[in-house]
């Protein structure tokens, strides 16, 4: 991937990112930049390092090598105020991770109050506005356990939005949901994208990626194999590994027996 000038427009700038867990090298040199307002969808097989990449961006995982800039700030610099950077990055998890002991409203206000030091009135006003935005204004007094998975995930998105992030990271936000609840979460994300939010989204929802993404990144084995416009990646993938992955994901019932046998060999070349 070509190296760009660090500009005000560049939301994320990753270069030469490496991450190992012990002897296992999960990310093997990632270069990726995301411009402000861009929606980048990351796809790829299980274990390819997608979550790890996302978690490196807000330093939930500490990279072993390379640099990451978020909004021009180098987060991999040891002197970086990481809490300050995280404040500006919203993160949405596969398992929602709502605070179970707090009501929905308090889930949205606690970090506004404790981290941004907003007044109670302001925090509540912003919480209400963001619950409204995800269509859950009437659930402010509920506890997370009283909500469906789709509602919990929408609250989690509202919680991140309440911090006024410059950037949102989504790690398979719909993978833990019953199929009939996926749509409501994707609808909220679609709305965010339309409002110009910068988003880095790990997803298995190919239709969503095709429709919403400005760019699709295909990862396999800890490297970016291919990246481009959704129409190109989905319609005419340049790499064989991409094509095989898409074939497997988009038409799982048509994967033939011989292909399953051929899969591991196909992943090693290339």
């Amino acid at each position: 991937m070509k190296h760009r000038e660090v500009s005000a427009l560049s939301a994320i700038e990753i270069s030469g990112l490496r991450k190992s867990f012990g002897a296992l090298e999960v990310l093997r040199g990632i270069d990726l930049s995301v411009d402000s307002g861009e929606v980048v969808c990351v796809i790829g097989p299980s274990g390819s390092g997608k979550s790890t990449l996302l978690r490196c961006v807000n330093l939930l995982e500490v990279p072993t090598g390379g640099t990451i800039r978020v909004g021009g700030v180098e987060v991999t610099d040891p002197d970086c105020d990481i809490d300050g950077v995280r404040r500006r990055i919203g993160m949405v998890f596969q398992q929602f991770n709502l605070f179970g002991h707090l009501r929905v409203r308090e889930n949205l206000t606690i970090s506004q109050r404790r981290v941004l030091r907003r007044s109670r009135a302001e925090a509540q006003r912003i919480a209400a506005a963001n619950l409204e935005r995800v269509g859950l204004a009437d659930k402010a007094d509920a506890y997370p356990a009283q909500l469906s998975g789709g509602q919990q995930q929408r609250v989690a998105i509202a919680r991140a939005l309440a911090m006024d992030p410059q950037l949102m990271l989504f790690d398979e936000p719909t993978s833990a949901l019953d199929p009939e609840l996926v749509g409501e979460v994707l609808a909220v994300m679609r709305g965010l994208a339309a409002d110009g939010m910068t988003m880095l989204v790990v997803t298995h929802e190919m239709a969503f990626a095709r429709e919403v993404a400005s760019r699709v990144v295909f990862m396999d084995g800890g490297v970016i194999v291919e990246s481009g416009e959704p129409a190109q990646v989905f319609g005419a993938p340049r790499e064989r590994r991409t094509a095989e992955f898409l074939h497997r994901v988009l038409e799982p019932t048509r994967v033939s027996e011989s292909e399953i046998g051929a899969q591991p060999r196909a992943q090693h070349d290339g």
Binding site: R86, I89, F93, L98, F99, H101, S111, L116, R159
Partner: protein, 288 residues
């Protein structure tokens, strides 16, 4: 088991009789079980009735339930003895809880010396008898620091002596509670910009304490009973607790009724708490 061996010895060809036979045997076993249960119950009733008949109820009432002896204990049994028992318990519990929380956090710290210290403390105090620790606090420390006094006199000594041991147990309980809170909770808090400490205080600890309230209540019940050891520190008329109070009354009245009174007063504290723990545990089980 017997049924199993019977079916094992049968070949698949003789399926029909096999099904019938265990059926008949099960009926037989059920009748046998009913007989055994009835026999056990009969023995139990016989023993109870036998003891009741053999007991000299008048003597028993005169020994253990003398109204005049019981009446002579009041109001002191409540206003001084029970009150001190509760005060000792609360003080030792509060001290143990705070120290236990600190130890639990040290035990989970990334800083190795903190972990070592906490582990050493916990192992040490869990391995020592509470009475020995009380003696240490009551007599060892004053000898070692003759020009210093433990603040609060006997109250301070009991707090320290019982609280030090309670802290070791509570530390382990709280640590388990903290570890039972899913890692995703901390990750969500940190990704919202909370510091490690803030995430611990606002997100992890409230959920951890919800988990450990039942075991901590059990620790409270245990401490209530352990305050009976306070007498070894030489309590006075104003610092006396229930067991010593009852013991003194036993000596002066030459009658064991005070022991019954003290027992009932302990139960007045511990029984409701045990019920509370059961209720909390049932509720927690339902929520899961």
């Amino acid at each position: 088991m017997t049924d199993g061996s019977v079916t094992d010895t049968n070949s698949p060809a003789t399926t029909a009789p096999v099904i019938q036979e265990p059926g008949r045997r099960r009926l037989g076993r059920r009748r046998r079980e009913r007989l055994v249960r009835a026999a056990g119950y009969a023995v139990f009733v016989l023993v109870v009735v036998g003891v009741a008949a053999a007991a000299d109820w008048q003597r028993l009432a005169d020994s253990f339930f003398r109204v005049d002896v019981a009446r002579a204990m009041f109001p002191g049994a409540v206003t001084t003895a029970l009150r001190n028992t509760i005060v000792y318990t609360l003080l030792a519990f509060a001290f143990g809880l705070v120290l236990g929380l600190v130890l639990a956090l040290m035990r989970l710290s990334t800083i190795a010396p903190y972990r070592w210290f906490a582990t050493a403390y916990i192992e040490l105090f869990r391995g020592l008898p509470r009475l020995l620790v009380l003696f240490m606090v009551g007599y060892g420390i004053p000898q070692a620091f003759p020009d210093r006094e433990i603040p609060g006199g006997v109250y301070g000594a009991v707090t320290l002596g019982l609280g030090a041991t309670a802290a070791a147990y509570m530390a382990e309980t709280i640590r388990a509670g903290i570890q039972a809170v899913p890692k995703g909770q901390t990750e969500a808090a940190r990704s919202l910009g909370m510091s490690h400490g803030r995430a611990m205080v606002s997100i992890v600890l409230p959920q951890a304490f919800r988990i450990v309230i039942p075991p901590l209540t059990n620790e409270f019940v245990g401490l209530t009973k352990d305050t009976s050891l306070a007498y070894v520190l030489g309590v006075t008329a104003s610092t006396i607790e229930l067991t010593k109070f009852a013991g003194d009354a036993l000596n002066s009245q030459v009658n064991p009724t005070p022991l019954v009174v003290a027992g009932l007063l302990y139960l007045a504290i511990t029984l409701p708490l045990s019920q509370l723990v059961r209720w909390l545990e049932r509720r927690a089980a339902r929520e899961r």
